[in-house]
Symmetry: C2
Subunit: 332 residues, 2 copies
Amino acid sequence: MRIPFEKLYQEFLRVLLKKGFAEERAELCAGIFAESSRDGVYSHGLNKFPLFIRDIDKGHVHVNAAPEKVARFGAFERWDGNYGPGPFNAHFCMNRTIELAKEQGLGCVALRNTNHWMRGGTYGWQAADAGCLAVCFTNTMPNMPPWGGAEPRIGNNPLVIAVPRKGGHIVLDMAMSLFSYGKLGVTRSHGELLPVEGGHDLEGRLTRDPDAILKSMRPLPAGYWKGSGLAIMLDLLVTILSEGRSTSVIGEIDDEKGVSQCFFCLDAEKQHQPGYVEQITNTFIDYLHATIPLHEGESVYYPGERTLRTRQENIANGIPVDEKKWQQVLDM
Amino acid sequence: MRIPFEKLYQEFLRVLLKKGFAEERAELCAGIFAESSRDGVYSHGLNKFPLFIRDIDKGHVHVNAAPEKVARFGAFERWDGNYGPGPFNAHFCMNRTIELAKEQGLGCVALRNTNHWMRGGTYGWQAADAGCLAVCFTNTMPNMPPWGGAEPRIGNNPLVIAVPRKGGHIVLDMAMSLFSYGKLGVTRSHGELLPVEGGHDLEGRLTRDPDAILKSMRPLPAGYWKGSGLAIMLDLLVTILSEGRSTSVIGEIDDEKGVSQCFFCLDAEKQHQPGYVEQITNTFIDYLHATIPLHEGESVYYPGERTLRTRQENIANGIPVDEKKWQQVLDM
C-alpha cells in the first residue's frame, strides 16, 4: 500500500494538533515524520509515530515545552530541552547551530533533557540545505552490551555527518549497533538469517540468528570493540557538553526519556570560494563510483545516495506503508 | 628485549638531529615516537621510525618546514603544513586548537599538506592533558575498499576522541579498518587466523586468513558498510575544511604524502564547575566496570584504560622492542 506524501503529512498533523501541539510545531514534527518515510527510513517515520504518541500520553514528552539557553561560551551554547518533543528540539538546536556557524564560522550546541530525535539524518539534511558541513549525535537508553559485556550498558548512540552538495547532499546516519532492533525484528519475521554475525546468543556465541539476539539483548557494536568504544565516547561527549543525562542515568527508568545531544556546524559557503565544495564532492563521488565492484553487477554508493533515489521514487509513486501502522494512525 | 624509555628517546633524538632537525622539534618528535612505544603502540613508535626516516630521505618530509596559517574565521583556522614532519605539524595544530578553545570556548583547526601523524592518540592525550575534550582525524592513502568494492579507494582514516580525567584520560584511537595491516602481518607471521572475519579474499569471500587479505588488499571496514561510510565522511570533512588533498589525490603517487587533518577542542575546565568532568567520568567508568562479562574472567575496559596499564609497566620494566628494528635505529 502506497500513500501520497501529503496525505501522510496531513494525518500526522491532525493527530499532533489533537494532542495539543501548537500549530507551527505540529507542522514541523508532522513534516519530519512524513519526510522520514518519504526518504525510506520507515522505521523512524510512520512506524515510530505510534510510539511517539505513546510517549506523549505517558507524559514523557511535553508537547509545547520550549528549549532554554542555559550557557554560552563564544560559538558554543548549552540548551535545556525541557522534555519537549525530540524532533522539535533537535531541529531547533540544529537551526541555532547553523546561525552560530553563519555568524562565527563554526557553531556548536549541546542539548540536554530532550527526547528521541527520531531519524538523525533529518538534522544532517537540514544543515546541508543551509550550506553547512555538520556533525551531530545523540545518546540513547542502554540497548547494547559494551565489548566484552553480557548486558546492555551502552547506547547505540546514532552519529550523523553531512556535507552539502547541489546534486544531493552526502549524509551518513549510523547507529553504533551493526543492526537495529527494527532490522532484527523484520529479519526474524521473515524467518531469515542476518547477512553477517549481528550479536551474541545467550551462550555467548556470535550468531546470525536475529531471534537469538533479540532474546539475549546482545546486539553487536559495528566493528565489535570499535563501535563499542565509539558509542562510549559519544555518550561521554554529549553528557559532558550538555551537562545532561548519560546512557547510564537514562537507563534508570524503563522508558527512554531525557536524552542528551550535540550539534556541530561549519559554514562551507563562507569559508570557501564559490563552487569549491561542489567540485570536491563531485570529484569524490566520480572516483568512488569508478570502484571495481567486489561482485559483478553490484555498485559502490556514497552515504545518502540511495536515500535520494528512494525519495524520488516515493514522491512519484507514493510512500509504502505498513498497513497496520497506517490504520493505527488513522484511528488516533 | 626491553629498553629504558630514556635510551629509546635519546637514540631517536640522535638520528633526528643527524637528519637536520632543529633541536626543539627533534626533541618533540623523538618524544612522540618514544611515548608511542612506551604506551604499547609499538606499531607507531619504534616500528614506524625507520619508515619515517625513509620518507625524510625520499624528500617527502621537509624536516624544518614551518606550518603557515592560511585562513581564519572566528574559532576556525586553516593551516598549511608545508610537508613538514607529521608529528610536529599535528602537535603544533592541536596546540593551536587548544589555544583557540581556551580563548573562545571551542576551537577547530584544519591542516593540509602534512604527513603521517604516526600514533593519533598522541594528540588526544595532548588535548586531555590541557583539560580539553578533543576530536581529531586524518585521511590516508587509499588502503581499503569501500563497501561493495574490490580495490582500495578509501583510507582507513584514524579518528581520535579524548575526554580528560585526572585518574587517566579516556582516549579512543581507532582506524576505520577492522584490523590494521600491522595486525594482519603479525597474525600471518604467527601462522594464526584472525579472531573474526577481517577482509575479503581474491574470490570475494569473507575470510579470517590474514595472508588472503594481504594478497587481496581487501581489509574490511570496521562494521562493514558503517566503517566504510564513516571513512568516506571523515575524508570529505578533512579535505574540504583544509582545502587539502583527499584520499583519491593522495593515491595518485605510490607513497603517502601530503595528507589532510582536522583538530577540534572544547575547553572543559572553562565550561563546567570544578570537579564536574571528574565526577561524570568516574561515575561512567564505575558503571562500565560493573558490567557482567560475556565470558567468565573477562573484563570490560574504557578506551585508553589498557594504554595506561601498559605505560606503567613499560616505565617500570623498560619498553619491549623488536630487536631488528632497534638495531636498525642504532645503525642509523
